[in-house]
């Protein structure tokens, strides 16, 4: 092989892009020609300069995320897998529970703040007596049939107001907040707090389940 022929092939030889037959020919020539070997070295150097640019162009993660957001926004009809749909449902359920819990607490608190400050030491009958009361026993009972609640005739200051509901069972829970004594409200508040605690525990369970699923 002549030097001219060999030099014509050196650009490809430098990058290992020659076919097997020509590769051997050039290799044979290079072992006996120092000038061509130097020429090859220069091609090798130029190629190495380009190789140094590899891994030079890398976007920061922030930019990659931004690019993905743009690309994603352009793709129509993406389907969310069933597993993620379930997680989304659980997430909404947890949010709804939190909302209910907050609403419940707020209602309880406002009721407590609106309650009249009666004598805290006054005796209060909190449990239903299960004793039916005749309308005749309660003056003014007939005047308020729509509300299903009346004040007892023997009501003392601070005593528990009694109510007869449609089934005839006496209870104190249907009175307006401002008609209840502090002790009554306290008892109801305790009950609500307990219920609230239960709901919060349930909420935590759901959140833990959600977290475990997403991991």
């Amino acid at each position: 092989m002549t030097c001219d022929a060999a030099r014509g092939l050196l650009p490809l030889f430098a990058g290992g892009d020659l076919t097997e037959g020509r590769l051997e020919e050039v290799r044979g020539h290079l072992t006996s020609c120092a000038d061509c070997a130097r020429e090859l070295e220069r091609f090798g150097e130029a190629r190495a300069l380009l190789e140094e640019l590899r891994d030079d162009a890398v976007l920061p993660k922030r930019e990659v995320r931004r690019m993905w957001t743009t690309v994603r926004g352009e793709i129509p009809l993406l389907r969310v897998p069933r597993r993620l749909r379930l997680l989304a449902t659980l997430r909404y359920a947890a949010i709804a529970l939190v909302g209910l819990s907050v609403g419940f607490s707020a209602t309880t608190l406002s009721a407590r703040l609106l309650a009249p400050t009666a004598d805290p030491a006054a005796p209060v009958a909190l449990t239903p007596t299960q004793v039916p009361i005749q309308p005749t026993d309660i003056p003014g009972g007939a005047e308020r049939p729509d509300r299903g609640m009346v004040q007892p005739a023997t009501e003392q200051p601070g005593a528990a107001p009694v109510v007869r509901n449609p089934s005839g069972v006496i209870t104190v829970t249907k009175l307006p907040v401002y008609e209840k004594s502090n002790a009554q409200l306290q008892a109801e508040l305790n009950a609500l707090r307990q219920k609230n605690t239960e709901m919060e525990q349930r909420l935590q369970q759901l959140e833990r389940a959600l977290k475990a699923k997403s991991e």
């Binding site: 892009d17 091609f43 150097e45 140094e52 030079d56 690309v71 793709i75 009809l77 389907r79």
Partner: protein
């Protein structure tokens, strides 16, 4: 195909040990994309965005434009993923779009920007390479060398820039490049041959003339 589709890629791909596993995984990901599965799209994006960006950046020498190109390429690919034949290489399809979009940008830019090769050759004449050493001065010198290499690369005709970016910088095989640029293998090798000669001549400030490196096949600058 000689080279792996992407060596950097995402962790799930790295965990796959053989080429066959990579292919099987990729086909599965593409099938899921074809059913509209969002995480599968994300997987493909994570796997190929870096190299797509690098290819475009090496052709355009402009980070913002390269970002636009990669975004647009992924959007086109994902919108047409249902038409993709899973028996073919996904990455050559993607990089083909990246290269075509980059060339479109080059065409737009070439009307406003022209760098004479001989002038550039004088400007980048260098005093040897600075590979060894790890001190701040070496780092500065290395960055300067890279900048000048990019200047020379940027001044080459588009078709030469493309093959150098794909072959010498990103390490694609000639077969892969012929798929990406839609040319015969022999044409690709000829372009690589001419591109290396031209790059070396400009880098050494040999007063290279572009006409000497264009022939009938290269009648169109790009």
């Amino acid at each position: 195909m000689a080279a792996s589709p992407d060596s950097e890629t995402s962790r799930p791909l790295q965990a796959l040990t053989t080429r066959r596993e990579v292919d099987r995984d990729e086909k599965d990901v593409i099938r899921r994309c074809q059913t509209g599965d969002e995480p599968a799209f994300r997987t493909l994006f994570d796997r190929y965005q870096r190299r797509g960006y690098a290819v475009s950046y090496n052709i355009l020498n402009d980070g913002e434009l390269a970002k636009d190109v990669v975004q647009e390429a992924f959007v086109r690919v994902f919108k047409n993923i249902h038409k993709f034949d899973a028996s073919k290489n996904f990455y050559t399809w993607l990089y083909q779009i990246v290269v075509n979009l980059s060339i479109d940008f080059l065409r737009k830019r070439s009307s406003t920007k022209a760098a004479p090769l001989d002038e550039l050759g004088e400007g980048v004449k260098h005093s040897g390479r600075s590979r060894s050493g790890g001190g701040p001065a070496d780092s500065v010198a290395r960055d300067d060398t890279k900048r000048r290499v990019r200047e020379v690369l940027d001044a080459l005709p588009g078709r030469y820039k493309v093959v150098l970016a794909l072959r010498d910088i990103e390490g694609f095989s000639c077969e892969e490049i012929s798929e990406i640029v839609h040319c015969k293998n022999s044409t690709v090798r000829w372009r690589i041959h001419q591109a290396r000669k031209l790059f070396r001549a400009v880098w050494n400030g040999d007063g290279a003339k572009l006409e000497d490196y264009l022939d009938e096949e290269d009648g169109d600058d790009l």
